[in-house]
């Protein structure tokens, strides 16, 4: 016993150091997979408010650019409202339409903190669970996909962006319909990688890449980017396709959050199939 106490006394500094390192690494690995609390992320009230203050000071720097984007979006929306169409057939009467049902709900939000040069880049948004935001929802902007909600508190939420190691968004090539997973190699914020397309399919340079809508998060058809170049993976029958993102993550300001209203229904149906039940 005396030897044990002597041992602890002798190595107490190193033991304390190892203890703190252990705490840090356990926090790091558990938060990377799935954040349990909001305290240690920028979704916490303290960090969130500091970042909101900073955004209030700096948001005007990109005002011109953002205004032009909003204007373009407004024009596109104006084109689609009924009053901008001429009625050709006066005999039609609008009845309560039962063919179409709401599936996706959109919430606008502002990015108050973002990075694009780190290994894993997270964005902080100014909306939280009070606006019905939950972890796992999709985030996109008018130019393309941004990411998924990773963690949220009452007033803030953290987005796991496309510039993260294991984002794995379900995407496909629009022309051919081949689908794969979107990944990021951690180097350049302009290019991502499309993984999992077999090398017998013909992929043209410049073809559009959109979300597939299979992951229950994004609807089909949100643009991700364009094929920049393709290479052969050694030893595997796959293409290594590099994708140029259509969104410029360096100056991202306004985003929309998608809520899939039918997600629970789909999940329940899929979990009832025999293959998933056996797991």
């Amino acid at each position: 016993m005396r030897n044990f106490i002597a041992f602890i006394k002798r190595f107490r500094v190193f033991l304390f150091f190892a203890l703190l390192q252990g705490i840090t690494f356990s926090i790091y690995f558990s938060y990377l997979q799935f954040p349990k609390y909001q305290y240690l992320t920028s979704a916490s009230l303290f960090s969130g408010n500091i970042l909101k203050l900073r955004n209030n000071l700096t948001k005007h720097f990109y005002l011109n650019y953002n205004n032009s984007i909003l204007q373009k979006e407004n024009i596109a929306l104006m084109d689609s409202i009924p009053s901008s169409f001429i009625k050709l057939d006066n005999g039609l009467v609008k009845i309560n339409d039962t063919i179409f049902n709401y599936q996706y709900e959109y919430t606008p939000a502002i990015v108050i903190n973002s990075t694009h040069d780190k290994r894993n880049n997270y964005f902080t948004l100014n909306v939280g669970s009070k606006q019905n935001i939950e972890p796992g929802m999709g985030v996109f902007s008018s130019n393309g996909v941004v990411g998924m909600i990773h963690n949220c508190s009452e007033h803030f939420s953290v987005v796991k962006s496309c510039l993260t190691k294991d984002i794995n968004i379900d995407v496909m090539v629009e022309e051919t319909g081949d689908f794969g997973l979107l990944k990021w190699d951690g180097r350049n914020s302009k290019y991502g990688t499309l993984w999992g397309i077999s090398n017998d399919s013909k992929i043209k340079k410049g073809s559009k890449i959109i979300t597939r809508g299979g992951g229950k998060i994004f609807p089909r058809g949100i643009i991700v980017g364009r094929v920049f170049k393709k290479q052969v993976v050694e030893g595997k029958p796959l293409w290594d396709i590099s994708v140029k993102f259509s969104e410029n993550y360096n100056s991202l300001q306004r985003v929309y959050i998608i809520k899939n209203l039918l997600k629970k229904e789909q999940e329940k149906l899929e979990s009832d199939t025999p293959i998933n039940k056996a797991k």
Partner: protein, 171 residues
């Protein structure tokens, strides 16, 4: 008491400089600027290492919580604080350290500062990028990040001392 106030002001100042200014500067090719080790470096020489480790844990966690890095900064800063007394002993000046005098660039000289702080900052950056990337096959990318970031962080640390620390001994 006076020292306590100075160091607590420095704590918040370096937290704000790191989290709100330097983390937003993204030059590209993997350069990341980190100056918060300077705060741990400037703490009194005689301070017990247990306190040193606790302070660096708190500072690291507050930076991590704002930057969403979940503990990489803390881990690197803890290794910095643990190695500080060892490196100080290694590069001890001829007449030892004066416990009253702060260990900044003016009191102990430019050459000593480069040797001591440079070594510690290099270890800190190496640790940080190794934990962040955590892959053997990207070792060259880690080294590229370390060798590009360390000199720039070092220059900013020197600049901060010239801006905010008075040259006279009374601090």
């Amino acid at each position: 008491m006076n020292l306590l106030i100075i160091h607590s002001i420095r704590f918040f100042a370096i937290l704000i400089i790191q989290a709100l200014i330097l983390n937003q500067i993204e030059i590209g090719s993997g350069i990341q600027l980190m100056v918060y080790p300077l705060f741990i470096f400037l703490l009194p020489v005689e301070l017990n290492i247990i306190y040193l480790l606790s302070i660096s844990f708190i500072l690291g966690m507050s930076i991590d919580s704002i930057c969403n890095t979940y503990g990489i900064h803390t881990s690197a800063l803890l290794s910095f604080a643990y190695l500080r007394p060892i490196i100080f002993k290694l590069f001890i000046p001829r007449d030892g350290y004066d416990p009253i005098v702060e260990t900044n660039i003016f009191t102990l000289g430019f050459r000593w500062f480069i040797k001591c702080f440079g070594t510690l900052l290099f270890i800190h950056h190496l640790w940080f990028f190794l934990v962040e990337i955590f892959k053997i096959n990207e070792l060259f990318f880690v080294l590229q990040k370390v060798f590009l970031s360390t000199p720039i962080s070092f220059l900013i640390c020197i600049l901060l001392q010239f801006l905010f620390i008075k040259k006279s001994n009374e601090i």
